[in-house]
């Protein structure tokens, strides 16, 4: 699975990067590469079954904590 993901990412990279190099868009290439690496990292984490936190769970806990604080404060 992870191999597959890596292959797909390399394929996508090879699809996009030559055009940027040809146009000498170095800054764009750097940002693109960074974002791709971030995506690759997250996808591998997901694929290997690491327990990542859920976005909305974080929000909910944050706000519930805030509310409790307010409630106890008043």
């Amino acid at each position: 699975m992870i191999v597959l993901i890596v292959v797909v990412f390399i394929g996508l990279f090879l699809y996009e990067a030559p055009g940027l190099v040809a146009k000498e868009f170095w800054r764009e290439l750097a940002v693109f590469t960074l974002l791709m690496l971030l995506g690759l990292f997250l996808s591998i984490l997901l694929a290997s079954g690491v327990e990542l936190p859920y976005v909305e769970s974080i929000w909910v806990e944050l706000f519930m904590g805030l509310r409790k604080m307010l409630a106890s404060g008043s």
Partner: protein, 363 residues
């Protein structure tokens, strides 16, 4: 990058589909179920006020996107930080819509299909559409909006059989606090999300018509949502609030002459097409915004990796739909209020205090 222009009418259509977006199946403010259709109208009024105020930003800095305004008002560093916050908001909105979309498909029709098989084709076409640019998004949106509006209006006739006026009662049975909280909730989601368009307004070819276009779109969208909710209450009655996707459930009740059954395909189709546009707009804004913050010359290369990010995030938005409902009820109004009202107003206020815009307008 070449500026792509859309017409005010296309902007109106985009606002309609963006507003209807995910809300068409998953209403917020479900607490006030019985009165929801009325609350939508209240919220619409409130949201029109919010957006009207936010649009002053565009009036004051014509031809500038929200992010450019941030940099102008707060200075480059703080401005970029605030813009980053907005990027997060767009990412979460897009990923949230995508997540709801998968949940919906999994609970209704595609019970056995793996998530990825549903997500991947969708993300592929969204990335394709975003790379083609705003003009293409706007143009492909037009027939979809017409189809959606048509289907919603047709469904009025379809539900006539199942509609019972007494289901609408009792009205006005909620406490003022509930009404207030839920109205606010609806005003910021779905209507408030239109703050996203502050990023796209400079690409409208007739800037003087922008305000009317946005407000008109919101009114149409609000009317349609209210209508749908009205029908849902009339068909389902009080039981409606038990369902996760009430708008889909009420179509299930329609049976006309043994043949016209299983009409939940109609809202499903509406949602899929409108959500499609909504997610695509989120991704587009995300890419354009990132390119602006980092001062890149092209947004196009960013679409692909950001699409992957949205895909990954969509799987990490919520563990279960019930948490999402909880989030919508308790947290979302505040988060959205922060982004959709508080921040734009703050920017407007600061800009007035600094008074830097005057030369801008004179020139």
């Amino acid at each position: 990058m070449a500026q792509e222009l859309i017409s005010p009418r296309q902007l109106t259509f985009l606002v309609i589909s963006f507003t209807i977006g995910s809300w068409i199946v998953l209403p917020s403010g479900i607490e006030a179920w019985q009165n929801l259709w009325l609350l939508i109208l209240f919220a619409l009024g409130q949201a029109l006020g919010f957006v009207y105020l936010s649009l002053f930003l565009f009036r004051r800095y014509p031809g500038k996107t929200l992010f450019a305004v941030h940099e102008f008002v707060y200075g480059p560093v703080l401005g970029k930080l605030i813009s980053l916050l907005f990027l997060w908001f767009f990412l979460q909105t897009g990923a949230g819509a995508l997540a709801v979309f998968v949940t919906l498909l999994k609970t209704t029709v595609f019970t056995d299909t793996p998530d990825l098989a549903l997500l991947l084709p969708w993300v592929i076409i969204i990335v394709y559409g975003c790379r083609r640019g705003l003009e293409v998004i706007a143009r492909s949106n037009e027939p979809l909006v017409l189809a959606t509006v048509g289907l919603i209006l047709v469904s009025v006739f379809l539900v006539l059989n199942a509609f019972k006026a007494e289901n609408l009662l009792p009205l006005f049975n909620q406490s003022l606090a509930t009404v207030f909280w839920n109205t606010l909730g609806i005003a910021v989601f779905p209507f408030g999300q239109n703050v996203l368009f502050l990023m796209l307004l400079p690409q409208v070819n007739r800037p003087q018509k922008v305000r009317g276009a946005v407000l008109r779109g919101m009114v149409v969208a609000g009317g349609l949502l209210s209508l749908l909710q009205f029908l849902a209450v009339g068909v389902l009655g009080r039981t409606g609030e038990l369902f996760v996707f009430p708008t889909i459930e009420f179509y299930r009740m329609i049976i006309i002459g043994q043949v016209l059954t299983r009409l939940e395909l109609i809202p499903l189709l509406n949602f899929l097409t409108m959500g499609f546009i909504k997610i695509m707009l989120c991704l587009y804004t995300l890419a354009v915004g990132t390119a602006q913050i980092l001062e890149l010359r092209a947004y196009r290369p960013l679409v692909l990796p950001l699409g992957i990010l949205i895909l990954v995030f969509a799987r990490q938005i919520y563990p279960s739909i019930s948490l999402h409902l909880h989030y919508i009820e308790e947290v979302q109004p505040l988060v959205s209020l922060f982004f959709c009202f508080f921040l734009p107003m703050l920017t407007l206020g600061v800009s007035f205090l600094r008074g830097g815009a005057q030369q801008e307008m004179a020139s």
